[in-house]
């Protein structure tokens, strides 16, 4: 794996680099998906981050809650009907007490779904080699291109530098 990337001291510089790289994809013969951005913290308010925003996990959480609640309802009512006990004339499937189990199962469904949706959405776990730099931990933002065409590298480097890169580096080995 080969990558050419710039390290930026602030998100505004990173945004300029991302915009510059995106505008040059056809000219420099690389795909938009080859652009990589890595940071040690989220940067809200910038297009390169906000373009990834989605409300899908909320919908999945609601679905998980519905599934959990349904499972709780079936668990309580079906088992109470299958194994009936003497209730002294009171309801065999009491809504008040079963409601507590259903409530907890609703919450459990939402929690587990949120966890799964996060892992899938964020592409985790992923133990394949990925690009990073020790400077990212020190607050820099990495913006670069994975496996860029050899012929495009000088122009890529120029663009990364002109966007305000603190340094432009090349990586030839994946992070272990």
């Amino acid at each position: 794996m080969n990558a050419l990337y710039g390290l930026y001291a602030d998100a505004a510089g990173a945004q300029r680099a991302v915009d510059s790289l995106r505008s040059a994809t056809s000219e420099l013969r690389f795909d938009r998906r080859q652009i990589v951005i890595v940071s040690g913290e989220p940067h809200e308010g910038y297009e390169f981050t906000d373009s990834e925003a989605t409300s899908t996990p909320y919908r999945w959480a609601v679905l998980g809650a519905v599934v959990g609640g349904t499972a709780g309802y079936l668990l309580t009512t079906l088992s109470q009907k299958s194994y009936p006990i003497h209730t002294g004339g009171m309801s065999l499937t009491p809504v008040w007490t079963n409601g507590i189990i259903v409530y907890e199962m609703v919450m459990l469904g939402a929690i587990l779904t949120t966890l799964v949706v996060l892992l899938i959405g964020a592409g985790l776990p992923n133990f394949k080699g990925t690009i990073s730099d020790p400077e990212v931990g020190k607050g820099k933002i990495l913006v670069g291109v994975m496996d860029p065409p050899q012929s495009s590298q000088p122009e890529l480097e120029r663009r990364l530098q002109q966007a305000g890169a603190w340094q432009v580096r090349q990586s030839t080995t994946p992070r272990p």
């Binding site: 915009d19 505008s23 940067h43 910038y46 996990p57 909320y58 907890e104 919450m107 964020a122 020190k138």
Partner: protein, 451 residues
């Protein structure tokens, strides 16, 4: 002076790579307490729970007191952290992980105690609903079955709530370490890279979790209160018990959090991060909860006194004038008389002041749990069945070991996980000088391609 991103990472990773002799001494003491508890547990397992001081009519003693106490302490973290996240309180950043860790460990300890209490813990799986050859199911009408579901959900939720924002910090430890440590953290970080997509998904997930975990936390302690309130025992059968328990839980939780933060600040040298403002803000919350606790306690006692029902009055007078009076008035002093002036006077609301107030609240809230459980059971409706309860050395040891276990888990956690979220502290740097710059979605590139 505001620390840089590099300084933040160095400061917060330091405790993971360097530990003092004091740290290992504290670990040794906590581990000794835990081992003593394990020995007492096996002694009890071999001889049966007759080695406890429980006898008719008091079948709940120290064990259930500790169970309620630890479940209450668990409200420190997840609830406080979730509310602070939802309200976007920026001062929360150094506080949340300390709080969330308290939650996970105290729920875990709270969940272990009923296993000791049932006497034959190897049959605990009977609580799990599955079609067995016994053809019986858990009775979903029983508050004990509700406990099982509520605590399982809460433990799952609070563990997830702790783990998710820790993933980027595991990645930071991975990148800063070598050898076996690097391999371990590589697995824990799940291959986290820090792409915008990952950050967005994490923030959304944390928002959903914060929304979900608040009602779960409230339900857990309400259900614990229903273990009592659903029973026709004097001074238990009360509709106020749900909110009373939740308020008490948040009260004791905040106190435990302040204590833990004060200790972490001192021993991990986190003075730059856990600042007086954090203790002052939490101190104000603790003051509010102290007043609320007094209001609930007064309302509960006043209603009982005004009703003048003989069985309830027997418990009432036993608590405040007779056998349990020393414990009752100690509780009032610890939960109200001492903390309120300390926390109300700004000059006293210092780190030391809030830590002292919190220490008394933790003691007072343990006494409150004991005074809910035992006096009522000693004085049930029929006077011929009245009895007394004295804990034995086995119960004392198990209680001490629960504190030892909490201390040990917390100490070990602080050795393996940064106690303050590194990435959230870095986010704080961005907004320190103002709101981040917002660029338009289709901002014009600075560079133009070759003409």
């Amino acid at each position: 002076m505001q620390p840089t991103a590099e300084q933040i990472e160095q400061d917060l990773l330091r405790p993971l790579f360097h530990s003092s002799g004091k740290y290992w001494f504290a670990v040794a003491i906590a581990a000794s307490l835990l081992l003593a508890g394990v020995a007492a547990f096996f002694y009890q397992l071999y001889n049966g729970i007759g080695v406890w001081g429980l006898n008719s009519p008091v079948f709940w003693g120290f064990d259930i007191t500790n169970f309620v106490f630890w479940i209450g302490i668990s409200h420190a973290g997840t609830l406080i952290s979730a509310i602070l996240r939802l309200t976007n309180a920026t001062w929360r950043r150094p506080v949340t992980r300390c709080a969330e860790a308290i939650t996970v460990f105290s729920v875990l300890i709270g969940a272990i105690i009923p296993l000791c209490h049932i006497g034959r813990p190897w049959l605990a799986f009977w609580m799990i609903p599955y079609p067995s050859e016994r053809h019986i199911w858990p009775n979903f009408r029983s508050p004990l079955a509700w406990d099982f579901f509520a605590i399982s959900t809460y433990l799952t939720g609070s563990t997830t709530f702790l783990y998710l924002p820790t993933i980027p910090d595991f990645a930071a430890v991975r990148d800063a370490s070598t050898g076996l440590r690097k391999k371990i953290y590589r697995v824990l970080a799940l291959g986290w890279q820090g792409t915008p997509r990952q950050w967005q998904r994490l923030e959304v997930a944390m928002h959903i979790m914060a929304v979900v975990i608040v009602p779960v936390a409230v339900s857990v302690h309400t259900i614990v209160s229903w273990d009592f309130a659903m029973t026709p025992v004097p001074m238990w059968h009360s509709s106020i018990f749900g909110p009373y328990f939740v308020a008490g839980a948040i009260f004791s939780g905040i106190a435990a959090l302040i204590l833990a933060m004060a200790l972490l600040r001192k021993f991990l040298h986190l003075e730059e991060y856990l600042r007086p403002i954090h203790f002052e803000n939490l101190g104000k919350l603790l003051l509010t909860m102290s007043l609320l606790w007094f209001y609930f306690t007064f309302a509960e006692r006043l209603t009982t006194w005004y009703g003048n029902s003989p069985p309830e009055m027997a418990v009432f007078w036993d608590s405040i004038r007779k056998n349990f009076a020393p414990l009752f008035w100690t509780m009032v002093v610890c939960n109200f008389i001492i903390p309120v002036p300390i926390l109300a006077i700004k000059r006293l609301r210092t780190i030391t002041g809030t830590a002292i107030a919190s220490a008394t609240v933790v003691v007072g809230m343990w006494l409150e749990r004991f005074l809910i459980v035992v006096p009522s059971l000693e004085h049930k409706f029929l006077p011929y069945s009245w009895g007394t309860y004295r804990p034995t050395w086995v119960e004392d040891t198990l209680m001490a070991s629960s504190f030892g276990m909490m201390a040990l888990l917390y100490l070990l956690f602080s050795k393996f996980v940064p106690m303050i979220s590194i990435w959230e502290m870095k986010v704080g740097l961005q907004s320190h000088g103002g709101v981040p710059v917002v660029l338009p979605a289709e901002s014009k590139p600075v560079l133009e391609g070759p003409q």
